[in-house]
Amino acid sequence: MIFFRLAVILITALFAATACSPSPATSNKLVIGIGSTLNLGNNNPVFIQRNANVWETLTELDDTLTPRPGLAQSWEVSSDGRQWTFHLKRGVTFHNGDRLNSRLVTANLLRMKNHPELDYYSTFSSLVSAVPKDEWTIHLEFSSPVVDLPNRLGHYFAGVFSPRAFGPDGKLDRPIGSGPYIYSQSRIGQYDRVTAFAQYHGVKPHFGEIEFKIIGDPAVRIMSLLRGDIDMIAHHGGVPPSYLDMLKDRRDIVVAAQDVAITHYLLFNCARHPFSDPASRDAFSRALDRHELARLILHGSGIAARDFLVETAVRWNRNRFSLLPETDEPVKRQLAALGKGNALTLLLSQGDASSWSYRHTADYLSDYFAKLGVSIRIEMLESGAWQKATQAGDFDLTLYPLSLPTGIPDLLVRRLAYSKGMQVRSIGNTTHYASAPLDALFEKALNAPNVSAHDQAYHSLLDLLAEEKPFVPLYHERYYYAYRQGLTGIHIDPFLKMDLGAIRFAGERE
């Protein structure tokens, strides 16, 4: 056993030694090991991910996914939910010297309005006018109520940029934001770099440069941290739970966990037998043992889901699902009927399977349901082929991750239940579920004149989904990250963003 471990650690160490060029961090430079690049390219509305701290949003979502002030320090809404007034923060400078004011924000909002392909959540499709009232006040008028506007303005594709950063096509040439770091450069497959912005309006960044070093393999990331090539492992992937043991006895490394706003769902194909029958979906869902799945398979990387949305989103949680199986007589009868048919196809996306424990989750589900007499065949497809197959309805079951970028379940409903699917990217809902009452409730929520009616409509909608079960939650994601002892000010939000400006060394080092 010891020999095995030693051999494997030696091999990994050798691999890490050859894979990583030594670039030891200095007191002025922080090196963060990440699994994949932060650079999204200029077809994306924000060019570089929020985690790079290059740009900011008008509002931000806190740990309970509730909006709090960002570049907008306060706001008011009219009683009909159509008129919004935002008061902007003063003294905010952009990386090119532009100052934050109402004209600059107006230009950003019109960028979204005029280029709906960049407005991922169709927030500004009903924007009638955006009028600067004074230097730091802006008035927005919508044709229909948008009571959740502060939530939508805080999501991770709603950055505010200098108008000189984007051209007539709305695309960013360069992400000129107001964050504590300035985007410097990216090298494909190697790194993304940002440099400190001295005129930042908040706490001045401590590190002159931050390099996001791209190390795809988690074992190599960990060995790089142990070897001192990087100071931290963060961003997507982080430290997979099965690798935590490697770090547990290291006094020079701190390992921390954060519950993030990602839930993993089991999706039924509602357009095909047997799951076109709600009774089959109900029986299958009630037979699930979420508690066992989390305990045996996820090894700490997931929390068994009691409801559709992460537990921190307390606004939406009503414990609609049981953690333990409910295998009463009707469920057994329904499962027996399922078992008489052909093997069910559980389709996996290869991309998702490599990012999350889907392969093992699918294995567990197949094994668990085999014991209940239901045969499941696992099939894995390349991500594009998976998308095509699910759109064509060529599956019975699939696993799917979804985050909660606005703190409200709009993306969840559009992506998995609303019959019109995603408006912007013309993607239908993956479950092929179609329900007039659900559509009506969703439209009611979207057009609700006040927060109370909005929340009431969403709760009714979630209740309906829990009854109809076109998809069911399996677990919420728990994310692990690690950093060198001595670094302070580290806090990761539910969307994996750190306030990089707040990070510093407790003591200087060579």
Binding site: F4, V8, S242, D245, A353, R359, D363, R377, G384
Partner: protein
């Protein structure tokens, strides 16, 4: 027979026996899970430990031997059959058929076969049938070219010329006389093809593109072990050892056979054959 061939042959035969009968001797059914024994290290109850669902690794590897070797042999058989038919016809008949097929083979050889298989399996999905089809599709070209070259050299030898003079048909000349002359060298190539196929099958499964994820197969066992290899190294070490042992056995056998045939001069070194052929034709012109 050289000693290395005997050692290699013994290893290969052992693996083949394991593939045929191993599952019967496995202590547990390969799919039997035991949630109380997840990721258990090697012990008297589980000689090679257990995986993430508490399944016995030894039993899964026994079952996996049949899958991996079965698929590798099937792909090699298809490749060899195609190579024999296409290569022999092109080499013997020559002309437009030869030219057209050789350009097709050039095109196929210009594409990296493994990458092509990855693309096709990624698009059309994995599975045993797809795996065999796509590997066979990309694997026959190299063998076919070698067969074609050997046949085109053999067809100029005296015994074929004499047969033709006696009025033997093309089919009889080709299948009864020319082909048997290239079989020994083809045997060595085929063994190397099997090694290549085992690696391809294991690699594709390891990438998640091979057989169905539930099928016990060497590459799939490794794929499953990927996230645990640091803490449960037995999941990684035993399948790797099996793959290494089998490929070593095949290489030893192939080298041994080559050595044996060289010694017995069963192989047809192309240059030598061409020299003989040109000598024969120049002798003919003198008379």
């Amino acid at each position: 027979m050289p000693r290395i061939a005997c050692i290699g042959g013994t290893i290969v035969i052992l693996f083949l026996l394991l593939g045929l009968t191993g599952e019967a001797f496995a202590p547990y059914p390969p799919a039997l899970s035991d949630y109380g024994n997840i990721l258990a290290p090697p012990s008297p109850g589980h000689w090679m430990g257990t995986d993430h669902l508490g399944r016995d690794l030894f039993s899964r590897l026994m079952a996996g031997t049949r899958t991996t070797l079965g698929l590798a042999l099937l792909v090699a058989a298809i490749d060899t059959f195609l190579a024999l038919v296409i290569g022999a016809l092109c080499g013997y008949l020559g002309g437009w058929l030869d030219r057209a097929m050789m350009r097709l083979i050039d095109a196929l050889l210009a594409l990296p076969g493994f990458l092509l298989a990855i693309c096709l399996l990624g698009i059309f999905g994995g599975g045993a049938l797809q795996l065999v089809l796509f590997l066979a599709l990309t694997g026959w070209a190299q063998l076919s070219r070698i067969v074609r070259n050997e046949i085109s050299a053999v067809k100029h030898l005296d015994f074929i010329t004499v047969n033709t003079a006696f009025g033997y048909s093309v089919a009889r000349n080709l299948f009864m006389h020319a082909l048997p002359a290239v079989i020994p060298s083809l045997l060595v190539l085929m063994l190397n093809t099997i090694v290549g196929n085992v690696f391809a099958i294991v690699s594709l499964s390891f990438l998640g593109l091979g057989v169905s994820p539930q099928t016990p197969e060497w590459g799939m066992v490794l794929f499953d072990a990927r996230s645990f290899f640091l803490n449960s190294p037995w999941l990684f070490v035993f399948p790797c050892a099996l793959i290494a042992a089998f490929t070593l056995g095949l290489h030893l056998l192939a080298d041994g056979i080559r050595e044996f045939l060289d010694r017995k001069r069963f192989l047809f070194p192309i240059e030598e054959v061409r020299m003989l052929a040109s000598t024969a034709s120049s002798c003919g012109s003198d008379t």
